[in-house]
């Protein structure tokens, strides 16, 4: 996975986990509210992305977190150090792309 560019769905999942460990259902809802998340339809597709990210060492499973309001059996996922690096790198790359696109479109307009 490292040698390829990050698919939008994987990026969205990493972004969803940036704030801290989360259960699958929360990742799902988070991702679905951002546009690229449309590639993640439901539990099955989410599972595959999580599995790929885990195999690439970008996220890890954490033990169940007995917090209020969340089913105790729900296992959570968190970013590894590598995952955080990839997320930051990808975010910077996207920012550069966006900035470039802005500059160019302004030039075209003027």
């Amino acid at each position: 996975m490292n040698d390829r560019s990050l698919p939008p769905s994987a990026y969205a999942v990493l972004a969803a986990l940036a704030a801290g460990p989360r259960a699958g259902i929360d990742v799902l809802e988070d991702v679905r509210s951002t546009a690229p998340g449309r590639t993640i339809l439901g539990p099955g597709t989410l599972y595959r992305v999580l599995r790929d990210l885990r195999e690439a060492g970008l996220i890890a499973r954490v033990a169940a977190r007995p917090a209020a309001g969340i089913d105790e059996r729900q296992s959570s996922h968190e970013l590894t150090a590598a995952g955080r690096r990839v997320l930051l790198a990808e975010t910077r790359r996207l920012e550069r792309t966006v900035a470039l696109a802005r500059r160019r479109s302004r030039r075209v307009r003027s």
Binding site: A23, G24, I25, L28, E29, L41, G42, P43, G44, T45, L46, Y47, R48, R51, D71, R73, Q74, S75
Partner: protein
């Protein structure tokens, strides 16, 4: 759905996924889904539905992705390019065609049955589209409503509006952008130069033409000056009438003589301009004139005008009905006359026009759907059987690395190779069927003449053909590509793969069930038709000729002239050698709908019912064999006969003789001097309607149209010739229409007969397809069980026993199908109920007969191939 049930269902859906993935991830997926379901149900039902939709899509996508990732061969993991796919498809189509050529018999049978099913479905589709769905030929037809007066009294009876009421509505109602009324088209003799032509003449108000939005194809419609009381005479004519009857002369130069008036033509109307006619059918007038200029349009209780309005945008039926009720109250207070209009009943014009067509066309649609169902099941079963025969080849393909999809594609390719010619044949069949139907049954249903097989219908046919083929191919594709490779190769099963037997047992049963439903429907219609023919109509129509007489005012200006003509004609007809009896009537006996008025026992106007009023000569009763009850006196001026049903209705057990009756021509009260048998309209389920009879000779009736009746002896043609000669001597320039009464009565059953024949045709097609299906599958199964048959015979079984075993394979499922069909008939009978006449939808005799026919067909269809099994030579077969 409760949370735990939803989770259970989701768990079942997980079977869509490959097993290894399911075992690895299943628990986690269920967990996530359960949590999502809890949240969604908090947000409401929509959120839950959308969750389900996403979850199913998600599983499908995941299953595909996982499968692709786990394919055993490197080559198949890469996605195929378009050209590669195209190449594979061509190869498969070729292989399918080759395979079909090797067994052309069953291929032809399958394609033929599919073509039949498609033809039936397509022709029914065209009927439904062109009769029921096609909008009326007016701009914005959905805003057109038909209005009737509604009475708040007992029964809330509804009436065609009277002219004064309609005129008030036209002037005052605000819910409509336009509203107007029209008279029923009347057959009239119209003179062009000195040649008389029969034409249907209708009259309409200014609002009518505006509401319908009709535009003349040439010339103009009427001006405001022509649409007023006492305005000048003017007419517009229908294009076809102008072309055929008026010689297409420049219409500005034509002046017609209609009645006593000379009428110039202002314009030409399109041929498809139609409006409501007698009995609210969809009729077409040849000549239209302004209505307002007529004198003698009747008072507030002379109901006889079809009224139509165009709803203002933003106003719905309820709002408009509300306004009309208020308006009716205001009008009633203002004019202070007796009226039946306490409010107005509004109905969409489309519904009014299609009322008579809806039930039969819908029935045809369902019948065709059943035929298509039988055909598709049959097709699927045939494909399945062919697939089973290729099982060995397919196993080899699978073991050599073919994917499940590759094998499925083979099945779809085979289905397509069969379906394309079938679809084309179905198209041709449907086009021919539509042509035949419109030629055989012209005008039986509203808009039947407008039914066309066109390009969109052909497109639909092709789609339907390919669609049915794909659906049918799913069965073998799913069942035959999933089997394990080793299983296939190990079991060179001869016994027709027991695991598959349920598939064709089920398909045979389903075909038999659908065919049974069709058979029952057509059986019931046949019985209804026979019942309708056997109805005792109360008179004898055989050997009776009718002569339609229309007396134009221009030739017979006064009432005395018209009377003299009719009496003269009667006298001359009586002298004919072939005439047994002669009479006349204003309305023929099988047409009770015309000349109906409110009729009541004198002094009790509130107890009125609608009854027919007939002007006849006393010979009318013996001529038609209508019995006269004992005690009757001869008809005198100021006395009438009533029929038994009306007498019973008004005076129950008392004798009607000497009672007084009011309404219609009877005015406020006329003495009843005789009671006669009731006459019943043939094609009418409402039974006999009461009738009051008047003597034409004794009273001063002024009839300008009517019918002369002649009961003749001997040859019909000679009688007709004599009648024509006698009448043309009296009136050389009048068109004379002679027809047999018997024939006219039979024609009144034409729509019933047409529906009966069409549904019967569908049920015969269904039966043929189902029998062909049974034959093909039993033949196939016998082919696969020949070894078994040979072994049985070798160990001493009689040929008859062997045959019986094989026959059972076909008849057993057919019997199960009959049972399924009977159950399916319970809901299906609803479609037919309204079309039945004096027969119950669950008539045991007809149900039993249909079951027997179907089982007999299955016995015959199985016996033919079973003979092959019985005559097999064990030595020959076992040696191979």
């Amino acid at each position: 759905m409760s949370g735990s049930r939803a989770v259970r269902w989701y768990g079942r859906l997980l079977r869509l996924l490959p097993r290894s993935f399911r075992e690895e991830a299943g628990a986690e997926l269920v967990e996530t889904f359960a949590a999502a379901h809890v949240r969604a149900s908090r947000r409401g039902r929509f959120a839950v539905w959308s969750l389900w939709a996403r979850a199913v899509a998600d599983l499908v996508v995941t299953a595909r992705a996982e499968r692709r990732q786990r394919e055993p061969f490197v080559s198949s993991r890469e996605r195929r390019t378009m050209t590669e796919r195209l190449r594979l498809w061509t190869a498969d189509l070729r292989s399918a065609a080759r395979h079909l050529r090797s067994k052309p018999g069953s291929a032809l049978l399958a394609a033929g049955t599919l073509a039949l099913g498609l033809a039936a479905a397509l022709s029914a589709f065209v009927l439904v589209r062109d009769i029921l769905l096609e909008p009326l030929p007016f701009p914005g037809p959905e805003r057109l409503v038909r209005l009737r007066e509604q009475n708040d009294g007992e029964g809330q009876r509804r009436f065609w509006p009277s002219f004064p009421t309609c005129a008030d509505w036209e002037a005052r109602a605000t819910s409509f952008t336009a509203l107007g009324c029209a008279s029923i088209p009347e057959p009239t003799v119209v003179f062009l130069d000195s040649r008389g032509v029969m034409a249907d003449v209708a009259r309409g108000t200014a609002g009518l033409f505006r509401a319908l939005g009709v535009q003349p194809v040439a010339g103009r419609l009427f001006s405001a000056n022509e649409h007023r009381a006492g305005g000048p005479a003017v007419a517009v004519v229908r294009r076809g009438f102008w072309q055929n009857e008026l010689g297409e002369r420049p219409f500005e130069t034509i002046t017609l003589a209609i009645g006593a008036e000379r009428v110039p033509i202002a314009g030409v109307l399109p041929d498809d301009f139609r409006f409501l006619g007698d009995a609210s059918d969809w009729s077409r007038a040849d000549v239209w004139m302004p209505l307002e200029r007529e004198t003698n349009l009747g008072g507030r209780q002379s109901h006889g005008y079809h009224t139509v309005g165009r709803l203002r945008p933003g106003i719905d039926l309820v709002t408009a009905e509300h306004e009309m009720a208020e308006l009716a109250a205001v009008l009633k207070a203002e004019h202070g006359e007796p009226t039946n209009a306490d409010r107005a009943e509004l109905r969409p014009l489309t519904g009014v026009v299609l009322r008579r067509a809806e039930q039969p066309v819908r029935l045809l649609g369902w019948a065709a759907a059943a035929v298509l169902l039988v055909a598709v099941i049959n097709f699927a079963a045939t494909l399945f059987a062919r697939g089973v025969a290729r099982r060995h080849e397919l196993s080899v393909r699978l073991s050599l690395g073919a994917r499940r999809g590759d094998v499925a594609r083979l099945h779809v390719a085979e289905a397509l190779v069969l379906a394309v010619p079938a679809a084309l044949a179905g198209l041709l069949g449907a086009a021919a069927a539509i042509r035949a139907m419109t030629a055989m049954y012209p005008g039986i249903l509203p808009r039947f003449g407008q039914v066309r097989f066109d390009a969109p219908a052909a497109g639909l046919g092709i789609l339907l053909g390919l669609g049915s083929a794909t659906v049918a191919a799913c069965l073998p594709a799913l069942l035959l590509s999933a089997r394990s490779v080793a299983g296939h190769l190990a079991a060179r099963g001869d016994a027709g793969a027991p695991g598959h037997r349920y598939v064709w047992n089920l398909s045979l049963a389903a075909q038999a069930g659908a065919a049974l439903v069709l058979l029952v429907a057509s059986g019931l219609l046949v019985q209804s038709f026979r019942a309708a023919l056997q109805v005792d109509v109360g008179y004898r129509a055989d050997d009776v000729l009718t002569v339609a007489v229309v007396l134009p005012e221009s030739r017979y200006p006064s009432a005395d002239d018209r009377r003299a003509f009719i009496l003269d004609a009667l006298g001359r007809l009586e002298e004919l050698p072939s005439a047994v009896a002669v009479s006349m009537t204003n309305v023929l006996p099988h047409v009770t709908q015309a000349m109906i008025s409110g009729t009541y026992p004198a002094g009790d106007q509130a107890a009125f019912v609608f009854a027919g009023h007939r002007v006849v000569t006393p010979d009318f009763f013996p001529l038609l064999g209508i019995p006269i009850q004992p005690g009757a006196e001869t008809l005198r001026p100021g006395s009438v006969y009533v029929d038994m049903s009306l007498g019973r209705r008004f005076w129950a057990d008392r004798s009607p003789l000497g009672q007084s009756i009011g309404g219609g021509f009877a005015g406020r009260g006329t003495t009843v001097s005789g009671v006669v048998g009731s006459v019943r309209e043939w094609n009418h389920d409402m039974g006999a309607i009461g009738t009051v009879y008047y003597d034409y000779r004794q009273t001063a009736f002024d009839l300008d149209s009517g019918f002369l009746l002649v009961r003749h002896r001997g040859d019909v043609e000679r009688a007709e010739r004599e009648i024509r000669q006698a009448l043309s001597a009296v009136a050389p320039d009048l068109p004379i229409e002679v027809a047999s009464l018997d024939r006219q009565m039979r024609d009144s059953l034409a729509d019933r007969r047409a529906v009966l024949q069409l549904v019967s045709a569908f049920s015969v097609i269904g039966l043929v397809i189902a029998s062909a299906g049974i034959y093909a599958l039993v033949a196939f199964s016998v082919g696969r069980r020949l070894r078994e048959a040979a072994i049985r015979k070798a160990v001493g079984a009689q040929p008859s026993q062997v045959a019986l075993t094989m026959v059972r394979a076909g008849v057993g499922p057919a019997i199960a199908g009959v049972a399924m069909g009977l159950v399916a008939w319970i809901p299906a009978s609803d479609v037919l109920r309204a079309l039945l006449f004096e027969v119950a939808p669950f008539d045991p005799v007809i149900l039993a007969a249909a079951a027997v026919v179907l089982i007999a067909a299955s016995v015959v269809a199985s016996a033919v191939p079973a003979r092959r099994a019985a005559t097999v030579e064990p030595v020959v077969l076992l040696r191979d």
